[in-house]
């Protein structure tokens, strides 16, 4: 291969580093009205009145919007395909506010200062209600977060808002009672995972203007431009053909920009006033008023025989979706569906649980999407089980983990909000990932621990993981390739580059197929007027789903070119040899260059435009797999952890771009380490967010991460473009369990509550000492 599986620099990297206008706010109209939101100071309240007179009298204030200005029509901001598996439980503005930071009203003014001043002049009277802040107590709490009658589910998701239940689900297979009674060893443990903030560097940003056809042109920093168009149309009752959503360069998303944020208010302002408008979230708003990862409590019970056969997994999950149910059901289901199949040889398993409403910042999509929470629980529990069995956890995993050619009943039972899709693992190099990782981390010389001369203890820990490659039968991506005169191509895709490099890898796939250097494929993505549809950048779908669409379109373009060449050269198409820049004829001197061919059909003879459009949806979702290994030096006096190395060995099929795939894995690892070790969204007893800036919510810095070792298994997934599976999320899954296992291996204390801080380690050591002395 000439272009695929190479380390090609991003097509747009230099231009962005040089500061050329690329991001949403770089493209805002300079005369934009500024839209700002008054946010609730209360966790739960009914708005009795909003006096907007003083604000409206301020010079430069264009309008003040309250819930009375919008049609009362519930929708979901989740940014999923239609109909959504998330409840329609949100109004553009509502008379209830359901968390500190929820939208009360919006002001529209000529500049920032005036907008800020106007916010301070709004007089709001609240009827303060008792909030639901502890999600363990949310179900059947006397306070109901969503009492309003209009809200509804789009299809059965277990929605019972009167009981504060946003979604519920249960599945089982095999005979659980028999499987446990046949087990020699049973362990039960409860794990908890925290809310994590996305902290993409570019805050949520949107701007809008009307064009000369009186259409609404929206620039949005979004992962899902086509869903944004649909949701705006549905929620604001603006005809969809009047809306164009353009996704410029996006400064990171990680799931946080799958849902829609300021788009509704900004679109409404421009639609009503005819004037350009914009909104850029402050960092405080990003923390307080966008989304977090769903906090979960995961109760897990495992049973195994003495010989080390895992017999049964019984699993209950309680998930906290906060004030709105975006991604409530599906994130919770993925905690099971993308974790359970790792151990596919069990006789029986059950996975069930509830997702509850509380009066906190809503939870939403976040890289890993439930799998990181589920992975922490199961991969910690497996090590606990092995300890009790006195079996080496590596030996145990080798014996019980899923292998190539195998399947799991979970694939067929559990989809994302619906039934799943049965599939065999045509590629699963977990065995290689495990062996290679053991070698790279030097496990045999470090497991379980090595006392160091400086008093610290070196230890290692590991976990296995899997993810998916798009949602089968749901996620669709499309691509159009156009041949230009001079013999170069345009590739337009609905797929959404949010920094992961999809424009580059999709151009690589097209260039490889059309046998040209990547420079000859000019890529443009995500513009609802100009590019074909794509669901957007989520669910690890882009490489596999959108990549397959690009591959199909490029193959189609090749066929069209061969047909043209055959006519020009007056031979049968079977005689044509497609050589990229030149077209040849078998056993003949006859030839035509692509430049001549394209110029001829553009200007001279039998003129025409060649375009090929193809689309793709998966009939399966081949999982990427990985084995993750952490090496830490831990101080037994202080609990301080030095992360020495993190080894990732990944089976993502053929990486389309080696360096960009490595970047996806390593970026995921470091976000996962943040969640494993110290990141935590904290709020006060009244529901006010404490961690509302980057000084109080720390993310890993350059100084925290000395070394990452990343390797790829040799793997070729037949159903993927050039053998590729997706790789966007898999990196984030293993760090919590790997770190928990390493801490246990070092000190013999098991932390079951994320994040694994030094403080928790010291407390656990003290508890252990107290128990031992009694």
């Amino acid at each position: 291969m000439k272009t695929v599986n190479k380390a090609i620099p991003s097509v747009d990297g230099l231009g962005i580093m040089l500061g050329r206008p690329a991001f949403t706010d770089d493209l805002a109209d300079v005369s934009s009205l500024i839209v700002k939101v008054l946010r609730s100071p209360h966790a739960f309240a009914r708005i009795k009145s909003i006096n907007k007179e003083k604000a409206l009298n301020l010079s430069g204030v264009e309008m003040v919007l309250t819930h009375q200005d919008f049609p009362r029509k519930p929708f979901t901001r989740a940014g999923q395909g239609y109909p959504e598996p998330s409840p329609h439980d949100k109004f553009v503005l509502d008379e209830y506010v359901r968390y500190v930071g929820d939208e009360v009203a919006a002001v529209v003014a000529k500049d920032e200062e005036t907008a800020e001043a106007a916010l301070a002049l709004l007089d709001v009277e609240y009827d303060i209600l008792e909030p639901v802040l502890n999600y363990q107590e949310a179900m059947d709490h006397k306070a109901v977060v969503h009492p309003e009658p209009e809200i509804h589910e789009m299809f059965p998701i277990g929605f019972e808002p009167k009981r504060n239940i946003a979604a519920a689900y249960g599945m089982d297979f095999g005979n659980l009672d028999d499987a446990f009674s046949e087990s020699d060893v049973i362990i039960e443990e409860t794990f908890t995972t925290q809310a994590q903030a996305h902290v993409m560097m570019e805050p949520h940003t949107v701007n809008a203007r009307l064009d000369v056809q009186n259409r609404l042109i929206i620039y949005s920093s979004t992962q899902t431009p086509f869903h944004v168009r649909r949701i705006l149309s549905q929620a604001l009752a603006i005809p969809m053909h009047k809306i164009r959503v353009i996704k410029p360069r996006v400064g990171g998303g990680f799931g946080g920009k799958q849902a829609i944020h300021g788009e509704l208010l900004v679109a409404w302002v421009t639609y009503k006033t005819g004037k350009p408008a914009k909104m850029v979230y402050t960092r405080k708003e990003v923390f307080e008023s966008s989304y977090t990862r769903h906090p979960m409590t995961l109760k897990i019970k495992l049973g195994a025989t003495k010989s080390g056969k895992l017999k049964a997994i019984d699993w209950y999950v309680l998930s906290n979706t906060g004030a709105y149910g975006e991604h409530a059901l599906t994130v919770f289901m993925v905690a099971g569906s993308k974790v359970l199949p790792l151990y596919n040889k069990v006789d029986a398993a059950r996975f069930h649980g509830h997702v509850v409403y509380t009066n906190h910042t809503p939870a939403g999509a976040y890289r890993g999407y439930g799998a990181i929470q589920g992975n922490f629980a199961l991969e910690s529990a497996v090590d606990i089980l092995c300890e009790k069995l006195q079996i080496d956890p590596i030996v145990f995993r080798r014996k019980n983990m899923i292998l190539e050619g195998e399947t799991s009943p979970v694939f067929e039972i559990m989809g994302e909000g619906t039934e799943g899709t049965a599939m065999n693992m045509e590629t699963c190099k977990l065995d290689y990932c495990l062996d290679k990782g053991l070698e790279l981390i030097d496990w045999k010389n470090k497991y379980p621990r090595v006392p160091l001369e400086n008093g610290k203890i070196k230890s290692v820990g590991m976990a296995l993981a899997m993810q998916g490659s798009g949602i089968p039968y749901i996620d669709m991506g499309a691509a159009t390739i156009k041949l230009n005169d001079d013999g170069f191509y345009n590739l337009t895709v609905g797929a959404t580059d949010i920094g992961q490099g999809s424009d580059t890898i999709l151009a690589q796939i097209a260039a490889e197929t059309l046998d040209v250097p990547i420079e000859k494929v000019v890529v443009y993505s995500s513009d609802t007027d100009l590019t074909p549809f794509d669901v957007g950048a989520y669910a690890s779908s882009t490489t596999f789903v959108s990549g397959n669409a690009v591959y199909k379109a490029a193959r189609h373009m090749r066929e069209m070119i061969v047909k043209e060449a055959a006519e020009i050269l007056d031979v049968d198409t079977s005689e044509i040899v497609f050589g990229g820049d030149v077209i040849l004829v078998k056993n003949s001197e006859a030839t035509i260059s692509m430049r001549d061919l394209s110029n001829r059909i553009t200007y001279n003879e039998d003129q025409k435009q060649l375009t090929a459009t193809s689309s793709y949806y998966g009939t399966k979702s081949p999982p990427p797999f990985m084995a993750g290994f952490i090496e830490i030096d831990i101080d037994p006096e202080t609990g301080e952890i030095d992360i020495v190395d993190y080894v990732s060995v990944v089976d993502c099929g053929v990486p389309i771009n080696i360096k960009l795939a490595q970047g996806q894995v390593e970026g995921g690892i470091v976000q996962g380490l943040g969640m494993a070790h110290f990141e935590v969204v904290k709020s006060s007893s009244k529901g006010q967010l404490i961690t509302n800036d980057l000084l109080k919510y720390k993310i890993p810095t350059s100084a925290d991460i000395p070394k990452l070792t990343t390797a790829f298994a040799k793997s070729y997934e037949d159903s993927g473009p050039y053998g590729a599976k997706s790789v966007g999320e898999i990196g984030i899954d293993t760090p919590p369990a790997a770190l928990a296992n390493a801490v246990y291996n070092a000190l013999g204390v098991r932390i079951t509550d994320l994040p694994i801080t030094s403080e928790k380690i010291i407390l656990a050591l003290q508890n252990k000492k107290n128990k031992e002395s009694h």
């Binding site: 620099p9 993409m200 976000q671």
Partner: protein, 150 residues
């Protein structure tokens, strides 16, 4: 009020409000490489060089820039292109929102530190947050650039 300073090698007059920050002045004047990522001087994406030293433009009043030299990537094109050849080769760029600030900080480091160790490099870069890359590919690119170009 009027302020005069050298922006990317050219002395210019700026009409600013008393409380206006340099970040806002620059963006208003179409210097779009400087970004706003936080409200607490803690993310680094608004970094500019003030008389050659990296500083956060979100925390400097433009009124206090009288007579200074302010540099952004727009004024360091050749050096940024050189640095990018290493950065892009490692696939370190990802979303790119922090990349102009990263490039400026690295260019300043190259001029300030002689043969910095790997850990000194990581310490120098500690104020430039990146949520995408995991830093290791970036640091490798920085190391390669400093080794080859210093």
């Amino acid at each position: 009020m009027k302020v005069k300073f050298v922006l990317n090698g050219v002395e210019r007059d700026f009409e600013v409000k008393a409380g206006e920050y340099l970040l806002d002045t620059l963006r208003k004047h179409n210097i779009l490489s400087v970004k706003k990522g936080c409200d607490a001087s803690s993310c680094g994406v608004c970094t500019v060089l003030k008389n050659g030293k990296p500083v956060l433009s979100c925390s400097i009043l433009t009124a206090r820039c009288e007579g200074l030299s302010i540099t952004t990537v727009e004024g360091e094109k050749a050096e940024v292109e050189k640095f990018y050849s290493y950065f892009g080769a490692e696939g370190a760029d990802q979303c790119g929102f922090c990349n102009p600030a990263t490039a400026l900080t690295v260019i300043a480091m190259k001029r300030e530190l002689k043969n910095p160790s790997e850990s000194a490099i990581r310490q120098y870069m500690v104020g430039n947050l990146c949520r995408c890359s995991g830093y290791v590919a970036q640091n490798k690119a920085i190391l390669n650039y400093l080794e080859d170009q210093s």
